[in-house]
Subunit: 337 residues, 4 copies
Amino acid sequence: MMIVMSDGATDRQVDDVIDRLHQAGVEAHLSRGEFKTLIGAIGDEDIISQIPLGAMPGVDSVIPIMRPYKLVSREFKPQGTVVSIGPVELGGEMFVVLGGPCAVESEEQLMASARAAKEMGVHILRGGAFKPRTSPYSFQGLGEDGLKLLAQAREETGLPVVTEVMDARQVELVSGYVDMLQVGARSMQNFFLLKEVGAQQKPVMLKRGPSSTVEELLMAAEYIVRGGNSNVVLCERGIRTFETATRNTLDLSAVPLVKHQSHLPIIVDPSHATGKRELIPALARGALAVGADGVMVEMHPDPKVALCDGPQSLDFGQFREMMADLKAAAPPLGRKL
Amino acid sequence: MMIVMSDGATDRQVDDVIDRLHQAGVEAHLSRGEFKTLIGAIGDEDIISQIPLGAMPGVDSVIPIMRPYKLVSREFKPQGTVVSIGPVELGGEMFVVLGGPCAVESEEQLMASARAAKEMGVHILRGGAFKPRTSPYSFQGLGEDGLKLLAQAREETGLPVVTEVMDARQVELVSGYVDMLQVGARSMQNFFLLKEVGAQQKPVMLKRGPSSTVEELLMAAEYIVRGGNSNVVLCERGIRTFETATRNTLDLSAVPLVKHQSHLPIIVDPSHATGKRELIPALARGALAVGADGVMVEMHPDPKVALCDGPQSLDFGQFREMMADLKAAAPPLGRKL
Amino acid sequence: MMIVMSDGATDRQVDDVIDRLHQAGVEAHLSRGEFKTLIGAIGDEDIISQIPLGAMPGVDSVIPIMRPYKLVSREFKPQGTVVSIGPVELGGEMFVVLGGPCAVESEEQLMASARAAKEMGVHILRGGAFKPRTSPYSFQGLGEDGLKLLAQAREETGLPVVTEVMDARQVELVSGYVDMLQVGARSMQNFFLLKEVGAQQKPVMLKRGPSSTVEELLMAAEYIVRGGNSNVVLCERGIRTFETATRNTLDLSAVPLVKHQSHLPIIVDPSHATGKRELIPALARGALAVGADGVMVEMHPDPKVALCDGPQSLDFGQFREMMADLKAAAPPLGRKL
Amino acid sequence: MMIVMSDGATDRQVDDVIDRLHQAGVEAHLSRGEFKTLIGAIGDEDIISQIPLGAMPGVDSVIPIMRPYKLVSREFKPQGTVVSIGPVELGGEMFVVLGGPCAVESEEQLMASARAAKEMGVHILRGGAFKPRTSPYSFQGLGEDGLKLLAQAREETGLPVVTEVMDARQVELVSGYVDMLQVGARSMQNFFLLKEVGAQQKPVMLKRGPSSTVEELLMAAEYIVRGGNSNVVLCERGIRTFETATRNTLDLSAVPLVKHQSHLPIIVDPSHATGKRELIPALARGALAVGADGVMVEMHPDPKVALCDGPQSLDFGQFREMMADLKAAAPPLGRKL
């Protein structure tokens, strides 16, 4: 922490800040210049951040100088983490493709998707059983029936499955059926849910909130890892900006940024990011090129009858074409597919 | 709904869209011009919005023309709603002031705040027992002990109390102690929590998410009202923008906008919006002037030792001054305080 | 400036940074802790900011600790500046109302507006002669003919007039006709234009860019004042955010923030901020309440035939009502109108 | 245009809107449903957009249904435009790399950069002679001396050169020295400058404003093309969002979006987008993968002494490595380098 004193701060106020730091067992380094007085507080950031320095008289501002997360940082663990989801390794050389419908709608729709996914070389099947919807009047998902269909699809195809868990009370139920739990973008800072998925061992895919910084995403991951579960995969899925031509603004810079700061794997979801089918294949290639560990893309046997997100779902032909593109582009980028 | 067809849409595609609408019992009005073909879909928006028109071949875009909420709209109920929180009426002539510490820290701290609040004419006491914190290493609140202290403060001062509920499992516990439940900004789209607070009768203060539009705020309120609880008070508390000089950007335009579109009362939280003590009194006056039904402002007996949000808490002297300002300014603005 | 060294920075790299500062005549304070090494650079920020410290090996980040503007800061000049625009003093006790049409369209339209403005007690007449328009196909203003009409309106009513100047080449022409030059939001960082209006003495109204921080607004004002013209009035007119219910998001927090940091007067433009007529009177009252020195509001004799911004223009009846509201609300807020 | 009438609109108000459209020679299609009344206005959008429909009594909202630009649209010209900059073709099969220092600082610095660029296979040399700087106290560029050095670098290396023009008065001067004029992000809506660069024939690189939508970027390009110069290259360089870990948020979705909507070529500037050297190579590969026609990347012989943007400049070794990566990745993506 760096404490910047106000221009008119008195010696007494400066001493009070230093005393307060010393009481907490923190070193204080005073830099007094002609224009400004600074106090560097160097010690355990956990302790320092508990002291309300910003509210002390004479303090102009308090500037953090260390990253607020630890367990998920690359300083803490220099080698990248590889998360195993069933037989699939995410975070290694393989560029992992997760595909499937936005929502599980029926046995027919899910099984058709699962078989197509398997045949195209998709690694993990996705499908929503509980759907977070802005409107109470929209389709809210099949619930446990959807989970059962996902388990059935896995049985038939051998593909591991991932689905969203929206509420702490569902964690046990959902983790009984699937191979990876998804914490959705709207739940990224549902701290009780984070603690609950941290207290079990199924891998967790944590999606970035549409108005969350990368630092906040890593802090949310820290909740899970600190709870005891280090099988966390991050997911960039677009942030909210003034641009309305796309549903969100996909922040591909977040991928190399996360790779520098954290050992956790990160994938990209171009479907929710753009909301536009015609942009998705290009952005899936972009995700591969910037160094993501995978992509999650929505598909549907017949997007025009989808109960959820039809306009952003690829049909099987489009998905197959995307897979071929990715396969061709991967080798010079150091990836297998 | 207005369906805009692509430039190259065929007659067959146009007919398919119209057929689809007719099948669903929806009127379709065709407008075919030299440059564009439009189809107006007029009927029950609930039904129309279930049809994935945007994914049909030949469709360029689908433009909603009706508001997606109903029960909370002013068309549905032209008179403003007044919510009773204990003896306090929010939404009427009174400009209601909610004050208290960010977090309940101790009996001494809370009781000092409660007595000061009572003496200054504050109407409702606030205080957090469960605290949503970005970092797992920050103070997370006293939990049920905090709730007990809030109940004790109400007993002594007669002030109704409000506190945040973060998880659906806590609703019953928390509503046993307090007079109003707060759904925090990070939980605005925690739909399971919305359903749970909608299934009981304690008034609910619903804070706008930092990246939520006013329409999404009203949709979240719709979840609660549709669940059976119409005692909802909205709260504008700042949205996330590129400006970093304030913690968030307080969107005071949201107040008259909500007043036009909804019958629900709305208050303003300038403390979380700005994060800067020196800006709060001016923005509390601003809230009064734009037509808000109240303000919620953080205070602390000694902000420099606060465990949470010290820099944005007023001390008792500053709070008293703000109250005097508001009292003086209210009458020509048609409000009592 | 505070220089934060990377975790792996070598002693040699630390020394290099210190040497570089010393060469430039800047004091360097080293704070070396268990976890982090910091170097405080204290001296003339002009000099320090010229040194590309962030690009030196071993440097993690460089954190500015002083505000980057000077002449416009309240530290530099503690008393508030009062700018005289003809007989009107802006920045004093008077809450100044600027009113008039978006664009000067015709003699009839402008003179009707000017007379109505005069009769209602408006202090300054506004009207655009050169119009910045997103589309090349929109009405671009009457140009010099518009300026002549503004001069004629001033002659008849005695009201000082303000109009926008869009290009450095127009400054001389425009300042020959009007009492105050407006630098529009899109031109806030047109540095050649800032230099040009700084090199003459007519007062300048500088509008905040829709994606500019308050700090950048003050830096733009610094360009003008440094050029020799200290008659600068700032104008908050909304910033661009994800919210689409209003044209922009009016940032009323910027008003008390500017008042703390700068001696320059600041007014508010609720017309461009919201784009919605029905929200403007409430936000004009809000501007008064948060401490703005005035408001600028668009009016039109017949908004439904306006060539520009009709939906956000008040008609004369609505404007008159707003004036009455402001007059009633001003006294307890310490303002005259 | 689609006109949505208010719920309480009278028949007379509906008729007035239709009459107004007919007077302007525009077809009006009435759709009157149980819940809503809509009027489709189909005709020349130039004419329709001049009618202030939104300000007419009884009108709730006016929804544009056609894109507001023409000459730059793919409907207008289905084949992609190839812009020739000296011997370089931008918009064809070649993935074009523009490289060079942020600012021209000295003959030595520029010539070293130019020679390195040539040797590495860079196609176009960039360098700023006039620099837009937020602070009046920062280095403002060498002006015409910088232009002369750019011309000298071209002469020696044969590389075409591009530099920014900030003011309409400079267009003639600058175009006398360089091969392509850059309109910077802050100038994207400097309409007088757009008209001036549209009135000459040197190619123009138009950078997206940090708070401009893709539609506004295309409208700005429309100003230039309509002025008579169709040699326009767009440049995505990041938009302003709440994320502060990067200088801006690079919006790579804009690339395939522009490719769908416009025939103009588009390149990406990852240097200004991120401000962080370590992210640039990954995002340059991302630009290639999403379909951009080129990248512009800053380099400097010795970034740690750069007068401008040192932290985001690659040194020659880093740049060379990036070139090798791009060369390897290009073929499966259908590009040459």
